[in-house]
């Protein structure tokens, strides 16, 4: 029996990933406990027109309810949300999502930067940004914005990331970020 909560999350966690991301996400979500008091939002670069159901895939690794975001949906505790392909994902201060089809940023839609910046503006200190493996520089700028608003910045150790470019860019932009091995990240965010 899954008793779904309709509570506001303590923290709002945005996880950004690109190349190698699906594999990293499986590891990460499988270690989150079902009574997780935060909201986790995944922004993953995907190939255009790929229709594989990431929500179904990730759901098979976790008991936390996984769903793809619909516009103006509530941001709730103990949920895992996926950014839909071809939309930018923004966060509203009233704990709802907004989607946008505006121009690509860093050649990407969704762009991780866009979500991190909006996390920073909407939630500041309550915001956590996590940057995982990837082959481009998306996310680094947004992590800096989040850091400057008092949010926590967590980056996967580039040495253990499948593709190091993205986490490296993150560390270069926010040298004071918390750098962790992938396996350490679930514990870290659970204990926030």
């Amino acid at each position: 029996m899954n008793t779904r909560s309709f509570k506001r999350p303590n923290k709002v966690i945005v996880i950004g990933a690109s190349a190698g991301g699906v594999h990293a996400l499986k590891t990460l979500v499988s270690q989150l406990s079902p009574d997780f008091p935060h909201a986790v939002i995944v922004v993953l670069h995907r190939l255009k027109n790929v229709t594989s159901r990431l929500d179904v895939l990730l759901q098979s690794f976790t008991r936390i309810p996984v769903s793809e975001v619909e516009d103006k949906e509530d941001v709730l505790a103990g949920r895992l949300y996926l950014c839909p392909a071809n939309y930018h994902l923004l966060l509203e201060p009233d704990y709802t999502f907004s989607l946008s089809v505006s121009e690509k940023v860093n050649f990407s839609r969704p762009s991780i930067d866009v979500s991190f910046v909006s996390l920073a503006e909407a939630f500041g200190k309550k915001g956590i940004g996590v940057l995982l493996t990837g082959a481009n520089q998306d996310g680094a700028e947004g992590l800096l914005a989040l850091y400057e608003k008092g949010g926590r910045v967590v980056i996967q150790n580039p040495e253990t990331a499948q593709v190091a470019v993205m986490p490296k860019a993150g560390v270069a932009r926010v040298p004071k970020a918390t750098v962790l091995h992938l396996e350490e990240i679930p514990d870290f965010i659970s204990n926030l």
């Binding site: 619909e70 923004l90 509203e92 201060p93 946008s100």
Partner: protein, 283 residues
């Protein structure tokens, strides 16, 4: 003033105070009320505009747009998100053809409203598919958008060939039976929509917050604009759209991630396509 903007090396982000000043100005001086637009989106657009126009404050930005011949059009041109494509979401068009066109086919006349049509690619896509279903001759499509610049663009019916790569594939995936060249004439860098389609198309400037431009539509396509509105404004706009539809046997199509759940009168609709958000009006 400039201390209100976070001035780091590359990006300046607009502060909530500056944002609110600008929203106030738009309402009072340009008769444009965006106070019920999604806040996060508004902040992003303002930030982009401030950076593009190298303004450090709302005041400076306002002075810049006031120098324009038509400040309102100028503002909207840069503020609105006009990204669109022909046959965007081919699965949507395929389902529209399969689920909605057979019902429309039974009617003597078909009137369609593409609300928030941007530069018109959606309107042209609809016209092409209506033609292939043998329905175009009894159809009229009205395309509207709040941005006059976009309406002008749409009226020219001229699209850059360079931006069109991929449209052919989407057209085929939508169920298109021929080739896009049947409908678009290539002239240099442009593809021009052929007159036999344009005969059935009309464009006009229209704000979704105002009363609908006409009534008695058989189909309203309103995609990827509600995402820029808050729940309240979505409710208001959906109620206007519902009223503009014919009673019975009429349809509303929204963007794939949009919904009618924030519309107080949602029981007036029956969902006929969950994935692509196609609804039939029942009351």
């Amino acid at each position: 003033m400039s201390e209100l903007i976070n001035n780091n090396k590359e990006q300046k982000y607009i502060s909530p105070e500056q944002r609110d000043l600008l929203i106030e100005f738009l309402k009072k001086r340009l008769d444009l009320d965006i106070s019920n637009y999604s806040l996060a989106s508004v902040s992003r657009r303002f930030t982009k505009m401030f950076n593009d126009f190298e303004s450090d404050s709302a005041q400076e930005f306002i002075s810049k747009i006031e120098e324009e011949g038509s400040p309102r059009d100028f503002f909207l041109k840069h503020f609105t998100v006009n990204v669109t494509e022909m046959f965007r979401d081919p699965g949507f068009y395929a389902n529209l053809v399969n689920l909605v066109f057979p019902v429309l086919a039974q009617k003597e006349q078909i009137t369609i409203w593409s609300a928030a049509c941007s530069s018109g690619e959606e309107v042209v896509s609809l016209a092409i598919l209506l033609h292939e279903a043998g329905l175009l001759d009894k159809s009229r499509i009205l395309g509207t958008d709040i941005s006059q610049a976009m309406i002008n663009y749409a009226m020219h019916a001229k699209y850059k060939v360079r931006g069109m790569s991929g449209y052919d594939k989407s057209y085929k995936l939508s169920g298109g039976q021929y080739a896009l060249e049947e409908y678009l004439e290539k002239k240099g860098d442009y593809a021009i929509v052929k007159p036999f389609l344009l005969k059935h198309i009309e464009y006009a400037q229209h704000n979704l917050m105002h009363e609908p431009p006409a009534e008695g539509f058989d189909l309203i396509v309103c995609r990827n604009v509600l995402i820029y509105f808050d729940k309240d404004l979505q409710n208001q706009v959906l109620s206007k759209l519902a009223n503009a539809l014919l009673p019975g046997k009429s349809f509303l199509a929204l963007g794939s991630k949009e919904s009618i759940i924030f519309y107080n009168g949602r029981e007036r609709f029956k969902e006929i396509d969950r994935e692509y958000k196609i609804f039939q009006k029942t009351q």
